[in-house]
Amino acid sequence: MKNERKRTFLLITIPILALFVCFNTIPLIRGVIYSFTNFKGFGTYDWVGLRNYMDLFTDSRVGGSYLFTFKLAICATIITNVISLILALGLNSKIRAKGFFRAAYFLPNVLGALVVGYVFQYLFTYILPALGEMIGSETLSSSLLSNESTAWFAIVIVCCWQNIAMNTIIYISGLQTVPEDVYEAGSLDGATGWKQFRHLTFPLIIPFFTINMVLCVKNFLMVFDQIMAMTQGGPAQSTESISFLIYNNGMKGGSFGYQSANAVIFFIVIVAISAAQMSISSRKEEQL
């Protein structure tokens, strides 16, 4: 019995794992090999040893992109998770036109980057400044996107706006696993509102909280589309994300080898972060 179970699991795991290795790990290894060369993306190349890696640590542009990316990821992760959790609770409560609301709140995720870029650029360039002037606010009366110190926050807004939809869906499906009788039992004990959420609902959806945190880290640390649509790294290179740099200089430009090295380091950094994140939250899961 036990062996049959083990065998079945292995029979499932091995072919799928093989597929994964074939189309993810092997190309990754090939990419890592390029990081030791001065490959431009075509033609011949030379081995340069660790030069690319050494250069990374003295490259202020790479440093700036790490700072920007992490600042954005932390803010956006917090904002997105708070709002989408509230939204999921709202959409899961007893309301009219549930289907309509759920569809409507899903829309931001579907609109293509061109539309999102155009609409938000317009909002930041023309509408917000006009509003700012009306209420007499100095900071708001100029475009958020043209100021080095505010442009990153404009990107945060757009990222949250687009990602809340997906996180909400995951929280909603998490809320479905919370059985009604938990609430009933809770309400007998007098747990309602915040108390009910804090002590009954939230502990049960912690696995989904973990998933959402990991997905946020992935989406925001690897932010690319929103940058392309909104600022292309400007103003004054203040919104160059790491993925943007890797793509723009590696794929479009001629430093494929160097940016491969950047990608390798970046990969190691995120894996370390998410491993830490997952081990913390899985410890939490066990506690509860």
Binding site: N38, K40, G41, F42, G43, T44, Q121, T125, S142, S143, L145, S146, E148, T231, Q232, G233, G234, P235, A236, Q237, N248, N249, M251, K252, G253, G254, S255
Partner: protein
């Protein structure tokens, strides 16, 4: 039951997918057997309609060659992925910029100096192409097809209404701007949120004021940008004073719309912007003039480079057939059709009718007084456009020039080494 059906489903899917594989594997070779296949991959999607027509006409008149022209979006990515797959098109249509330099250096392209049509190409454009080679070679690797020109677009009706004259030197331009401002009109519009547009006025100013081969001199270690670009950098910032208050707030599209709506009298950008402007205001009367950055009226030169040229790849099995296709592309009526369609300037000798938007530049075109864009030598990963955008924001000339020099050395390391090795070997490797 569910389990079984799921298994059947996955089996069916595997079948469908292998079927799909085989089908797509077969369809590649079937067509038009016996004919020589020539494939062109060109990088200007905006000219796709023109190239579709060319393809059709060519195939209707040629029995021995079958031509396909691909005009994809994001052609640069597609070219690179095809190069890495070693699936080279026979001919590639690219611009005369640093990518061309890289391709020559990577020996992807074939020498086309034996192509007869080359003799009709204007000398100045062949020189521009030769200059783009990182180290001089014996061959020629591109057949320049059409050029573009960048200067300042202006609202012709507005100029006539107020009696403004076309400026021919820097002082005249500055006093014209004062005059326009005095009338309560904005002289220039900029769309610097789209970083690449920062280069448009910069190129215009830099060709007038810096040596044409400055970048090559720097690579050889004979010059630096701090000196070479000093005057250009100052004049660039002077120009900003006559634009919108916060130029980085607006994008290319905003700027085109604003200019089309008469919100500014001039717009320093290439003629490629004309269709976008006309789409907003189809009746607008646009002309352009050469950026008069020099202090003397005869010290200016037209900023013009190869917008589209055709290169035969080294891998092309049938060069003769490729040349026949090039002959067809270079026929008078085909060039004229392209010029009409894209407001371009032909690189071939001949009597062509140019678009009205380059009226102000005809004199320079006819006399051959033109110089290639400085940015055709800038590697894209150096992000010279972003360096300029930073400069527009902080207006610190010294920091800008110092950074340009520093970043140049950093991003051109391999090129500089190659150039200096070549020089050490006495110019012949």
């Amino acid at each position: 039951m569910r389990g079984k059906s799921a298994r059947y489903l996955s089996a069916a899917l595997v079948l469908v997918m292998t079927g799909g594989l085989m089908l797509s594997g077969c369809s590649g070779s079937g067509e038009s057997s016996g004919k020589t296949e020539i494939e062109i991959l060109q990088y200007k999607p905006e000219a796709a309609t023109y190239f579709d027509q060319v393809e059709e006409q060519f195939n209707a008149t040629h029995d021995d060659i079958h031509l396909t022209i691909d005009s994809p979006n994001d052609a640069s990515t597609i070219m690179r992925t095809r190069f890495i797959r070693e699936d080279y098109p026979d001919i590639i249509g690219i611009g005369g910029d640093i990518n061309y330099s890289y391709y020559v250096d990577a020996e992807i392209l074939a020498d086309v100096s034996d192509y007869e049509g080359m003799q009709n190409i204007k000398e100045s454009y062949i020189d521009i192409a030769e200059a783009l080679e990182i180290v001089p070679t014996d061959g020629t690797y591109i057949v320049p097809y059409v050029a573009n020109a960048a200067g300042i677009l202006y609202n012709r009706d507005m100029f006539e209404e107020h009696g403004w004259e076309i400026p021919t030197n820097w002082d005249e331009l500055m006093s014209l701007c004062e005059e326009i401002e005095a009338e309560g009109i904005l002289p220039f519009y900029f769309g610097f949120r789209d970083t690449w547009t920062c280069l448009a006025p910069w190129n215009g100013i830099a060709v007038d004021l810096a040596p044409a081969d400055l970048c090559k001199q720097v690579n050889k270690g004979e010059a630096n940008f701090t000196e070479g670009y000093a005057e250009a950098a100052e004049k660039y910032i002077q120009l900003m004073e006559y634009g919108p208050e916060d130029p980085v707030a607006y994008g290319y599209n905003d700027a085109c719309t604003a200019f089309a709506r008469g919100e500014s009298a001039m717009y320093p950008i290439g003629s490629y912007a004309v269709p976008q402007i006309l789409s907003v205001n189809p009746d607008m009367n646009i002309d352009s003039f050469v950026m008069p950055a020099s202090d003397s009226s005869d010290g200016n030169t037209l900023n013009s480079g190869i917008d589209l040229g055709f290169c035969v790849t080294a891998d092309c099995p049938n060069k003769e057939a490729a040349y026949e296709v090039l002959d067809f592309l270079l026929e008078d009526e085909n060039i004229q059709a392209y010029v009409d369609d894209q407001n371009a300037i032909p690189c071939r000798e001949g009597d062509f009718e140019l678009a009205p938007y380059v009226d102000g530049m005809t004199e320079y075109i006819e006399s051959g007084n033109m110089t290639d864009y400085q940015d055709h030598y800038y590697p894209s990963e150096m992000a010279a456009d972003a360096i300029l955008q930073t400069y527009v924001i902080d207006k610190d000339t010294d920091a800008f020039l110092a950074r340009f020099d520093k970043d140049w050395q950093r991003y051109n390391r391999d090129i500089i080494r190659e150039v200096q090795e070549y020089e050490e070997n006495g110019g012949n490797e």
